[in-house]
């Protein structure tokens, strides 16, 4: 069950040039969190510009403390304003919202593929998968080593971490999907999760499909309500679909085999 809560900010750090980690205390929301769900944060308490809330994935959750951490990249007005929030301020948070990742069961071999800040939901997922005694491999692709911001958390969680950077400054030089196709033995994988740019997820889904591995992706769409009321975050999962799903409520997580990430549909 979701809640509306004022979150006391206990940490706010710039972890890379334009990427921030924000931690706040929202015990009721935290207690209900499942990986892959998101929180809907109001970027400004008193101004109507920007107006709408911003959806951000659960990057990490500490149910004992009642805290939630989000990892966000500054891309526009809302995220820019969010950087102004200080420790001891309050943020206005709705959540947890949406349908999160399906857990594959205990002791599975699981592969997580993240692109850029798309790594965010995979970190909390990794934590929960490890609690389920899964073996977790994480591939993370970024432009350069500086953007490899989830490294410490993932190491602490205890996963096998394989970075890929476009400029080769850390790990594999090239795209994370190249790393996937070159280095991963599909026979060893029971389940794949991916989050990142759509062309990346498309290639991961193709890999999963090729090898008959089940998997899930997390999609994005501009949102107003976040709860299925406005019908704003509509998209077709496949070009031939007649109906639109609502990313906020039917997703953001969808089964890979239900989604065909045509670049040309859905107005992109």
């Amino acid at each position: 069950m979701p809640f509306l809560e004022n979150g006391l900010v206990v940490g706010h750090t710039r972890v890379s040039e334009d990427i921030y980690e924000l931690e706040f205390i929202t015990p009721r929301i935290a207690s209900e969190c499942h990986p892959g769900q998101f929180v809907h944060i109001r970027p400004s308490l008193s101004s109507y510009h920007p107006l709408l809330r911003r959806p951000l994935s659960l990057y990490d959750v500490d149910k004992r403390l009642g805290s939630i951490t989000v990892l966000y990249k500054v891309v526009g007005k809302g995220t820019h304003l969010l950087t102004r929030v200080r420790t001891k301020d309050y943020v206005d948070v709705m959540g947890p919202l949406g349908r999160g990742f399906t857990l594959p069961g205990t002791h599975k071999n699981v592969l997580l593929v993240g692109g850029g800040v798309g790594i965010a939901p995979l970190v909390y997922l990794a934590r929960v998968l490890r609690e389920e005694k899964c073996k977790v491999q994480v591939l993370h692709g970024t432009e350069n080593q500086k953007q490899m911001v989830a490294f410490d958390k993932l190491r602490q969680i205890g996963v096998e971490f394989m970075p890929a950077t476009a400029d080769g400054s850390a790990g594999f030089k090239g795209l994370v999907t190249d790393l996937l196709y070159k280095k991963i033995d599909p026979a060893e994988i029971d389940f794949i999760y991916a989050c990142g740019p759509e062309p990346m997820m498309e290639l991961v889904a193709a890999f999963a499909d090729q090898h008959g591995i089940p998997g899930e992706v997390s999609l994005e769409e501009h949102m107003a309500c976040g709860v299925g009321a406005c019908l704003g975050c509509a998209r077709k999962l496949k070009a031939e679909d007649e109906e639109y799903v609502k990313v906020c409520k039917d997703g953001p997580v969808f089964s890979m085999d239900k989604v065909k990430l045509y670049k040309k549909i859905n107005g992109r």
Binding site: M1, P2, F3, L4, R42, Y48, H49, P50, L51, L52, R53, D92, M94, E221, H222, M223, A224, C225, G226, V227, G228, A229, C230, L231, G232, C233, A234, R235, E242, E243, Y244, K249, N266, G267
Partner: protein, 313 residues
């Protein structure tokens, strides 16, 4: 506004809109609150004056291609395209839930012909729980080359008149602000037999993606809502209140009790809260409580005393 005095004096929030008796003047606007369910974890709607459900058509509609929404300064554009499961599904699957909650439901209906409006109205006629019918007349009239019903007084008259013929429920046309003379439209609705007026619907607008060099919305045009449109909405309510003798449900950009009072003071008997629900799902309750606080602070017995208080002459 400070809340939570120990023994707050009772204030009379009840209002009457045509034949509808509402416990208070707070109305949740169509298309911004789904069928109530979507927000059930956040707010107890049984305390709200009324809920106008998502616009319903005779048949199911899939709606417009995405993107459907885009944020604008102090507002948003939407081009949902009236996605809805059709009147049957609404009556069978959603209405029972709302009936159980005990909330006054206002149906919001839309059609592409006068006959469609009348047909939906006749289906609603016999349903308990529904206290009124709001007519979304910002729809293209297929017989008149896609011209919006709400922009032509003659068509407004026809739709209202046809719906009145099918139902004994209060009929409340929802006026489109995209017109030269809102008073003329309001008078046409009155002549057609409207029991009340709802105003305003969204202003038609658009946004451009300069990198892609194309309109942002899949539908090109969308409806502008939110605080940005409040000045226009207030002006129209003011104009209509002075000239037309029907109760008004006023709204457009209401974000707090001050905005709500502005609408009431220019002549709205009740206020509708739309986009604000997305920003704050409990806002309707907060506005209600703050309005009560205002009445107490100003030693007013009833919200009705303020209706039209700022209208000159």
């Amino acid at each position: 506004m400070k809340r939570g005095a120990v023994n707050p004096a009772p204030v009379d929030m009840a209002v009457k809109i045509g034949k509808m008796h509402l416990q208070n003047p707070i109305i949740l606007a169509s298309g911004t609150f789904g069928y109530g369910r979507e927000y059930e974890d956040f707010i107890d709607i049984s305390n709200i004056g009324a809920l106008v459900v998502k616009g319903t058509t005779l048949e199911k509609r899939n709606g417009n291609p995405p993107p459907r929404i885009v944020e604008t300064p102090a507002g948003m554009l939407n081009a949902i395209g009236l996605e809805n499961p059709g009147i049957e599904v609404f009556l069978n699957e959603h209405l029972p839930y709302l009936r159980e909650r005990g909330v006054a439901v206002i149906a919001n209906i839309a059609g592409n012909t006068v006959e469609e409006y009348a047909a939906i109205a006749s289906l609603i006629e016999r349903q308990t729980g529904i206290v009124g019918i709001e007519l979304n007349i910002s729809c293209p009239n297929v017989k008149k080359g896609g011209l919006q019903f709400g922009t032509d007084p003659e068509m407004v008259y026809q739709v209202v008149d046809a719906v009145k013929g099918e139902t004994s429920l209060p009929v409340i046309p929802k006026l489109s602000p995209n017109v030269t003379d809102i008073v003329e439209i309001a008078k046409a609705a009155e002549a057609g037999g409207a029991d009340a007026l709802s105003m305003i619907n969204t202003l038609m607008g658009m946004a451009v993606d300069i990198e892609k060099r194309k309109p942002v919305l899949g539908n090109i045009f969308g409806g502008l809502s939110g605080p940005a449109i409040k000045p226009v909405a207030l002006r129209m309510v003011y104009q209509v209140y002075r000239e037309v003798n029907l109760p008004i449900i006023g709204g457009g950009g209401i974000m707090n009790y001050i905005d709500a009072l502005e609408f009431i003071m220019v002549g709205a008997t009740a206020v509708s809260i739309g986009t604000a629900n997305f920003i704050s799902p409990c806002i309707a309750r907060d506005i209600l409580e703050d309005l009560k606080g205002y009445l107490r602070q100003h030693k007013l017995g009833s919200i009705r005393e303020l209706v039209g208080a700022a209208v000159q002459e």
